[in-house]
Symmetry: C2
Subunit: 274 residues, 2 copies
Amino acid sequence: MELVSENRSFGGRQAVYTHPSNTCGCEMTFAVYLPPQAEERKVPVLWYLSGLTCTHENAMTKGGFQEHASREGLAVIYPDTSPRGEGVADDEAYDLGQGAGFYVNATRDPWKPHYRMYDYITSELRSLVLDHLPLEDCHGITGHSMGGHGAITIALRNAEMFESVSAFAPIAHPTNSDWGRKQLSAYLGDDETAWSNHDSTLLLEEHGWKGDILVDQGASDQFLELLKPESLAAAMARRRQPGQVRMQKGYDHSYYFVNTFASDHVVWHADRLN
Amino acid sequence: MELVSENRSFGGRQAVYTHPSNTCGCEMTFAVYLPPQAEERKVPVLWYLSGLTCTHENAMTKGGFQEHASREGLAVIYPDTSPRGEGVADDEAYDLGQGAGFYVNATRDPWKPHYRMYDYITSELRSLVLDHLPLEDCHGITGHSMGGHGAITIALRNAEMFESVSAFAPIAHPTNSDWGRKQLSAYLGDDETAWSNHDSTLLLEEHGWKGDILVDQGASDQFLELLKPESLAAAMARRRQPGQVRMQKGYDHSYYFVNTFASDHVVWHADRLN
C-alpha cells in the first residue's frame, strides 16, 4: 500500500492509497476516511461503493460522509469501480468496462483477466485494509446507483461478512434493465442463470437479509426507469423483509441527493455496528 | 438570469444561473443555495467567495455548506472568481487573469475592460439576486484563500452592506506577498497607494470592523508563507479588534479544511444575521 495523499478532515484523516492487486491484475486505488477515534482504537468500517463513471474520488470529495463518520466513529472505504490502466479491456460506452465493473467476477473475454471486482471487494481489499489500517473486523456496506447494486448484492451473498446494508438509488433489478442486461451479458455471458447472483431483487426474494435494510431513492431521479426501485420494494414486501425504501420527494440522482442523506445512512450503520 | 441547473439538496435548492454582466462585459455564472425556509419567506444571505482557479462550482460541490445553511435558514451565493470567455484577457499563470480576479476593479490594460469583480460583487450581482430571488437585504460574507481576501476587504470597505464577516485561510496581506504584489501590480499599476484598499491587514488596522471577525487557518497549510495569517492576527491584536484567528492543527489548504469548519462559519453568520 502506497500513500498517495492525506488530508486532515473533521479531526480524522482522508487518505488515498494505491496497491498492486493480484485479483484485478493491475494497480488499484482506493480512499479511506479514518475518524479521530481511530488514533486510539480500531473502528468499524463502512464500505461505500460508487456508481458508473466514478473512481474512488467522487464520493470522497462530494459525498459528505466524513463529518458524520467522524461523529459516529466509523471508517469509510471508497474503492474504485473497476480495474484500470493500459492492458485492461475497456469500451467506449460509459456504462461498460473501466468505471463500470458492476461488482462481478467476469467470466467472458475480454473482461475475464481483470474484471474481478466482486472478489476484489469481498476478499483482497478487505484483507488489505484489515491488515494495514486500524479497523475492526466489523463491516457495513452502502453505495450509490451501480454501487448500491454492489452493496446489496454483496451483502446478501455474504451475510457473515457484513452487519448492515443500505443503498442510495441502487440499480435494483439489473436482470430486467438496460443498466444490467448489457453488462451482465458482456461480463458473464448470455446464460441468464448466472446473472441472478447479481440482482438485488432476486437475491432478496430468495435469501432475504438477517437485519433490516435502508434504501433511499430520489422521487425525481432521472434514471428511475433503469433503477426499478419498485421491483426491490415489492420483493421486500413479499419477503416480509424488515427495512424501508424511502422515496424522497424532489431529489434526483446526483451527489446532492447522496450528500443530503449521508448522515442518515452513517447513523444507520453506526447503530448496527457499534 | 437563466437557470442552468437545479438540484434538490437538504430540502432546499442548489441552483446555477448565468446572466449577462454589464459590469464585467461578459456572461457570468453564479450558484446559489436556497434553504427550505426560502419557500415561505425571504432569507438572509451568506456570500462565499472562492479562491484561485475556482469557478462558482468548487465550493458548491465540495464545501459542504448546504447542510448547515439548510438548518440555519441562510441562502449561500457562490460567485465566479473572474470574468471569463473569449475576448476576456487572460494569462498562462494560474494566479493571474481568468480564475484570479482578486476582487478588484482593474485600472490597467489589458484587464481594465472586464476585470471588475469588486463592483460585480458589491453592486451588480447583489442587486440581481435581491431582485430575483427570495432574499432578505441582510448579508454576511466569507471566502477561502483569494476569496477570504475578497470577503474581508469587501466587508471592511462596505460595513453598511454586511452584518458579518469571516474567512478560511485568507490571503491576509497581499501587498507584502507573492500572492498579491503580482496581481495588484498587473490590475492596479505600480503605485502601491492604490493597493492598500485591497489588503485585509492594512484595512483592518485603519478601519477595524464594527462586529467581531472569525478567521480559520490550517496550521499545516502548504501556503502559509503566501497567506501571512500572522500579519492579520497582529493587526487584530493591535487594533483591539474583537474576533479570533484560529490556527487549526493538522489542516491544509484544501476543501477538506473548508468543509470541516463550514458548520462553524455558517452558524457564526446565522447568529449575526438572524
